[in-house]
Amino acid sequence: MWPFDASIESLWLVLYLVTFVLHAVFVSYVAAGTAYTLVAALRRSSDPIAARTRDWLPFMLGAGITAGIGPLLFIQLLYQRRFYTANLLLGPRWGAVVPALIVGFYALYLAKASERWRKLALGVGLACFGFVAWSWTEIHLVMLDDPAWRAMYGAGQRFYLDLAVVPRLVTWFGVMLALYATVAAWSASSSERGRLAGLALVGIIACGVTSAVLVVIRHELDPAHGWTYVLAIAAIVAAIAWGWTARRPDGPGLALATGATTAALVAGAVVREAPRLAMIEHGRATASASGGLVVFFVTFAIGVAAITWVVRTVRAAPAT
């Protein structure tokens, strides 16, 4: 099935996409969750969704960063020269994502622990995560634009000020809202689910409108061998399911919305990747012949079992 085949590059691609999707879920919770809790703090409302989110944010950021190491590893196999070049072109300004994440991390702890500093801490955290999202969007685009590399380096430019950054960021904003709502809804009460459904619908609509505007402006739609249609259908189903959840919060709407959102996320990851699939660096002998695949898969199975055991153990713990 396109874009997958029996090559080693295809295996890297699968692992890249799977880990990227996992990473996206966690970081979406963090970015959108921080924004949500900041709004709740500014409105001085005692919002149980915000309280729960605040409690989980540091862990979710830790999980997001950990999950992010997976795609960071596999992108170096798929597009090594492009990725390294883009890193080097953006230089220290790109490296600033690390201190931004450290500041954001401690800000989330502070927001959890101190009511006095909460608004400031969440504001700082949101600014940090916004900067990281913008930086990743930029580096993605720099990787694609190899004709611009020499001029960019010669001029010492550390910013890739292309208008294409804007729709990508808006789309991600929508995706993050929808993913945050999906995760948060499972621990929400019936009345809270209605609010989260509204949030998810805003996110889906933002993605849809941005995509439609881009199609109109560019006069082209890349079907990505049908994945774009899967994405569109899954997004529509998710929107309907969220509407259903808003009307009947305890019904099966949430399960359907979660399934459809997951399908949309996977299809969206493939559609996002489609324009650069031709850029995959094939025929790198050392990487292709490298050993250790079996050890990785065995360890992966053990790791999944260990994490499952941890989750079951803590779920079995009595409530405070």
Partner: protein, 465 residues
């Protein structure tokens, strides 16, 4: 030509001002190693104290919950993120090196990542749910955390030690020959001992902050200090490590280079002081250690870690991966071709500064390609300072026979015109960058440089194996 078309991958080179790139990666790397090793030892110490607590030592149980918060807030946050920073910084400093490491060891790196994920999940689970869990579950969770964090070290240690002693991998032995290389076991045992020591020292600091009577603190300190006992093995482990080093690296660390010898001395001296205090003072004499002294010892341990990491990095010279890739990101097999074509013939990137002559422009490109990885022009390890007393012919000779000038330098990977252009660039830089500068390229001079290049050959000074 597109930057993607060249056979040798050329990357944009960033300038860090007066900081040489080794200092940049060293700064990030030392912080990361220190925190990561603390996290590993901390996991083991927590398991040990939890076990003590469950056997009736109530203060040990209190310690576990207090210590874990510190572990999470410091090592999880900064430790995990400096790990990511290491990747980004390595790309900045030596993209081709990290690319080769990823190519060769990506499945083992992915394996390490799985254990890191288990470490994070089990650690957070204990942090969040520990007080609500049964004794058995607490102990199991801490055991899983400690095991996962140590296995994370196990996997990354093989990849890092491969850079220094790739051994049978060079003869086509494959990924496992590279992973279980000569310095794998001494490094692993050494780092494990360091991890235990760091955890014990931080433990002593935390114990001093606990609201306990002095006798109770002393009892906990005695337990924690036992955990630092492996530092007594350091001299043996260091000898083991030195024994498996390639001969040229060993001689370079043990007197061949005074700065490296001083780093060895700092690491050994600081470790000796910590070990002496732990073994004689804390374990044999059962002295009480207050928070200030424990902090001071931890500071010494940081110094020892920093010096040790510089030793490990420095011992690899002139390679980043021994026998495979020089610190200039050029493979030994590529030197001969670069001697013929010139060092920068295929470099697609322009310079960011302008120079008064074409020869100086070429010199600046050569400097960027062949020197910039380890030197700056006027900052740390400055070319201008290193060469300012040399005559022009001495410069030409020393550059042309670079691997003979200093055994830890790679062979010059360019032609006679490149040498001359670099010589003139250095002259121009020493002369305060005059607005006009006469080019020099007499055929006799170039012929002499070419002879020196031929005499030096394209091989490194030391044997690879």
């Amino acid at each position: 030509m597109s930057p993607l078309d060249s056979t040798i991958p050329y990357y944009p080179v960033n300038d860090f001002g007066p900081l040489m790139k080794g200092l940049v990666i060293g700064g990030v790397g030392i912080l990361h190693v220190f925190l990561a090793q603390f996290a590993i030892g901390g996991g083991m110490l927590l398991w040990y104290f939890e076990r003590l607590g469950q056997r009736g030592h109530q203060d040990a149980r209190t310690f576990v919950d207090g210590y874990f918060k510190v572990l999470v807030l410091i090592s999880f946050v900064v430790g995990a993120l400096t790990g990511v920073a290491m990747w980004f910084t390595t790309i900045q400093v030596g993209a081709r090196t990290i690319g080769l490491m990823i190519d060769e060891f990506h499945w083992l790196w992915a394996t390490e990542w799985v254990w890191f994920a288990v470490e994070i999940v089990s650690g957070y689970a204990f942090y969040r749910y520990g007080p609500r869990l049964s004794d058995r579950a607490r102990l199991q969770l801490l055991a899983l955390y400690a095991l996962a964090s140590w296995l994370s070290l196990f996997w990354i240690n093989g990849i890092l030690s491969w850079q220094l002693t790739p051994g049978a991998w060079l003869d086509g032995g494959g990924v496992w020959a590279g992973f279980f290389n000569a310095s794998f076991w001494p490094s692993l045992v050494f780092r494990t001992a360091v991890a235990c020591t760091l955890a014990a020292l931080v433990g002593c600091i935390i114990i001093n902050t606990m609201d306990l009577a002095r006798e109770q603190k002393a009892a906990l300190i005695r337990r924690a200090s036992r955990f630092a006992a492996p530092i007594a093995l350091m001299p043996v482990l260091a000898l083991w490590f030195f024994a498996v080093l390639p001969e040229d690296s060993r001689s370079w660390l043990l007197g061949g280079s005074m700065p490296m010898l001083m780093f060895v001395g700092v690491a050994a001296g600081a470790s000796f002081l910590i070990g002496g205090y732990v073994v004689v003072g804390l374990i044999l004499k059962r002295l009480f250690i207050n928070g200030a002294t424990a902090t001071l010892l931890l500071g010494l341990a940081f110094g020892a870690t920093a010096a040790g990491e510089f030793v490990r990095e420095g011992a690899r010279k002139p390679y980043t991966v021994r026998g495979v890739l020089y610190s200039t990101s050029i493979r030994p097999t590529e030197v001969a071709a670069l001697r013929a074509r010139g060092a920068t013939a295929d470099d697609p990137y322009p310079l960011q500064a302008t120079y008064p002559t074409a020869q100086l422009t070429r010199g600046a490109k050569v400097e960027r390609a062949l020197c910039d990885a380890c030197h700056t022009m006027r900052g740390a390890n400055a070319l201008v300072e290193l060469s300012h007393t040399w005559t022009d012919d001495q410069l030409r000779l020393n550059l042309a026979k670079l691997q003979r000038t200093k055994g830890f330098m790679p062979p010059f990977a360019g032609n006679a015109e490149d040498v001359e252009a670099l010589v003139q660039l250095l002259r121009w830089e020493r002369g305060k960058r005059a607005a006009s500068f006469a080019p020099t390229s007499s055929p006799e001079t170039l012929a002499q440089i070419a002879r020196w290049l031929d005499e030096a050959g394209t091989e490194p000074a030391g044997a690879v194996q």
